[in-house]
Symmetry: D2
């Protein structure tokens, strides 16, 4: 299993007129978390894309527990529990500075060829790197 | 059942470097759809909020089928199939101008008292309006 | 001179915790306005980009007069007063449903070759279309 | 003069289909920069707002020099060169990891009473804190 943590401070523009972070932004935090995880294992997303593969979101879900607000410093936790095949499953939890669960969810990514825009399996070169880190 | 349709043209800033609409934006289109439905049955969200009730998102899910891109004119369909109680369930489908399903998902909203920020049941005044429209 | 008007209803996610539209969003409305103007004269931005030219923002300014809020229906007016050369100057005004000026500003776009990412002059094919509409 | 620096890594969703950071996002980075400056001198924006004062943007301008892209780690520099009176002037520069100027601009904030939404001068309590830091 891979697990990383990323600190994100709430930004003003991310709040809405309820005075809390707009619900769509947590899904953007999830993205920051998984991009950070990939970077930490040596796979920055811009390098993956340069290699001709894009990883669009296939599906996602999110459960909101405690609203985040301006001034909050969030801990975005990202888990990858299985090696990617045709899909890569990612799980996220976000906690605030008081240790309260803000939200949790999961995101499934696909792999597509950038040229043809057709689905492909996770490229061998990426899979190798995932395997190395799963074995650590 | 309530059902409304809202036309949304993709905006430039909603695209990302994959050249398609960023996945988080569809959840914002869902929001536009439900705000529009509420307005059409006589419950503009700003009026609901002025009455002391806010409707935060409790959970959501989304399945992405065909990416939308700049130039696309989307049809955002919003369904409410059951009267709200402690929660209001909403279902969305988005189609492009060629009739292809772009994505589909559902969103559960709660009701909270704006002052106390505590969960409440759907206020009677709102429920009455829903009931009128369900009976039509 | 070219002038177009585009109606934009404020979206919930565009508000911030001041209870008004976040200032950055008006610049996105400006973009919607100019994309719409280009489309109306037969130059949808996605076609321009497919032809190998991109039009990045070089500079902009905005003066905020009256905040827009949820429920507002805005009229985004876009003016092009001079034919493009190396740059395309655009001016915008946004009014609310009560005829109050919400904000006004101007945006200067450049032209770059999509491959080389180097600045180029406005392509002749585009210029021709601008000229036709200026002469109308 | 006050000057602070804030590191911001480009986020995936901030890119657009030109493959660069959408121009509106730099104005959001400016906001992150000034919120960070205020926090560092002991004036977190959420505390200012709780005290009954809001600081909406009155005007802004931005000149774009070098596009930022995914993978870039930006240095957002924020300058306040004069004590606030009815307005607070802020200047920003953003550099990338190679020391290239990405963009520069300035933002003028006003002060309004949260209740009346009327303009007020910079509250004495805030001004005192600015004065202390200007004298350092």
């Amino acid at each position: 299993m891979l697990k990383t943590e990323l600190n994100i401070d709430v930004r003003y523009y991310e709040t809405d007129q309820m005075g809390i972070v707009h619900h769509s932004n947590y899904l953007r935090y999830f993205e920051c978390g998984r991009v950070d995880l990939l970077k930490k294992i040596g796979l920055p997303i811009e390098k993956i894309e340069e290699s001709g593969v894009m990883m669009p979101v296939v599906s996602l879900n999110c459960h909101y527990r405690t609203p985040a607000k301006l001034g909050d410093s969030l801990n975005v936790i990202t888990y990858i529990e299985e090696l990617p095949k045709a899909r890569l499953d990612i799980r996220n939890e976000i906690f605030n500075q008081d240790g309260m669960l803000v939200c949790e969810g999961s995101v499934m990514l696909g792999f597509i060829n950038s040229e043809t825009r057709r689905p492909v399996r996770c490229p061998k070169s990426l899979l190798n790197i995932f395997e190395q880190h799963f074995n650590d």
